[in-house]
Amino acid sequence: MMDSFGWPGVEFLFRGFMWTIGLSVITFLAGAFFGLLFALGRALGPRWLRFAIGGYIQLVQATPLLIVVFLAFYGLSFVGLYFPPLAAAAISLTVYATAFLADIWRGCIEAVPRTQWEAADSLALSRMQRLRYVILPQAFRIALGPTVGFMVQIVKNTSVTALIGFVELTRAGQLLNNMTFQPFHVFLTVAVMYFAACYPLSLSSETLKERKSASSTH
């Protein structure tokens, strides 16, 4: 149907690109939800919880994303749960993003100086009030730059799901290449599309980090 790479090919890739964006958004939202819970538990929870979350982060950060994706897709389907590629992709990417976001945000919570806890403490704020009004707003500002920076990783990580057959941008590129045999054009276009999604995020991440370091010199 498509024997050379032209405008229809670009359209085909663009549909894959929309799936890349969609999967990235799902991963970020789910990863942010669990990541925040884990970060709070890791920074402030009882010892056993900190230990458990720390272990989770250590293990996930020492496993290739590709293996996590394979475990979700092939492995779990044998246990009797069949995961369609989208579900396997979203779950494994979320498992991964949760570990990294939890680690990033724990660092941000711990970067708020101890003296801020003490000041809030001596104004009689409860633990939840201290978190809500004093610590988390400051941690949030510290976290903005690194978080946007990690969104770039999420977008790029979605490419791995091509290898379990989820048709996002990279898989669309593989399929198109099989039809047209023009790998250079196809994968260069694919790369340009990823770049278009990631570069603005990278830039704003840098700006946010600089703004934070500029304001902290006051």
Binding site: T115, Q116, E118, A119, A120, D121, S122, L123, A124, L125, S126, R127, Q129, Y133, V134, P137, Q138, R141, S215, H218
Partner: protein, 243 residues
């Protein structure tokens, strides 16, 4: 009943004793200055008074609350005991007015409608009425410390604790903060100040306490305390400071 009573207070960090049996009593309206070398335990003792530091032995009773037990009991105490820190510790993400009203609003439930008046009232006591909208990083160190005092005043404390509040300031900025504290003293606020400012202690404090090696080494009325020190340790401590 005294505003503050400390009995046989002992604290150690691991095997290292910091406070070796402190007894101290402060009456309502007293202004007590605590002096001593660094490492003498004076800041640690002050932080024990509002429960920021746990201690192993002895008892502290302040503004009618015993320092002990659950965090909710400590919060009841902290509603009535203000604390001002060496590093100001203002909340950098909140402007001056929000720094001041945060605790009254969320801890005491003061309605928003009353907050403006509260802000103006406490800021006028520290002479910064026009700074309500400023952020901490737009203020000088002296102004930040006065805001920190105003923030503490907004909780209408019965006792205020000052932990070396001028030590982080440039010399030309300490005057404005000391003046604010002196005015609070005149208005009858009960205060305990850890300080390095000897002449200020002599002038403003009703009583002065000299701490040495984790103990109350010597104490007395400020007028006589500096002019006739009893122990050689106090004599050598104040000799370079007072002529």
């Amino acid at each position: 009943m005294p505003a503050l009573r400390i009995e046989k207070l002992r604290k150690s960090y691991g095997a290292l004793p910091v406070l070796k049996g402190i007894d101290l009593s402060v009456e309502n309206g007293d202004v007590v200055a605590i002096i001593g070398r660094s490492g003498s335990g004076k800041s640690t003792m002050l932080r024990c008074i509002n429960g920021l530091e746990p201690f192993q032995e002895g008892s502290i009773e302040v503004a009618g609350h015993r320092v002990e037990g659950s965090s909710s009991r400590l919060r009841e105490l902290r509603k009535e005991v203000g604390m001002v820190f060496q590093g100001y510790n203002l909340f950098p993400h909140l402007n001056v007015a929000d720094n001041i009203t945060l605790a009254p609003r969320v801890v005491k439930g003061v309605p928003r409608a009353e907050c403006d008046a509260l802000v103006q009232q406490v800021l006028s006591r520290v002479g910064l009425e026009e700074k309500a909208g400023a952020y901490p990083d737009e203020l000088s160190g002296g102004q930040q410390q006065r805001v920190a005092i105003a923030r503490s005043l907004a909780m209408k404390p019965k006792v205020m604790l000052f932990d070396e509040v001028t030590s982080a300031l440039d010399p030309e900025l300490t005057g404005e903060v000391l003046k604010t504290i002196a005015e609070l003293a005149e208005a009858g606020m009960t205060m305990v100040l850890v300080t390095h400012e000897m002449s200020f202690a002599r002038r403003v404090a009703t009583r002065t306490v000299f701490m040495h090696e984790g103990r109350v080494w010597e104490e007395g009325l400020s007028e006589t305390f500096f002019s006739s020190p009893q122990t050689p340790e106090l004599q050598s401590f104040i000799a370079p400071n007072l002529n």
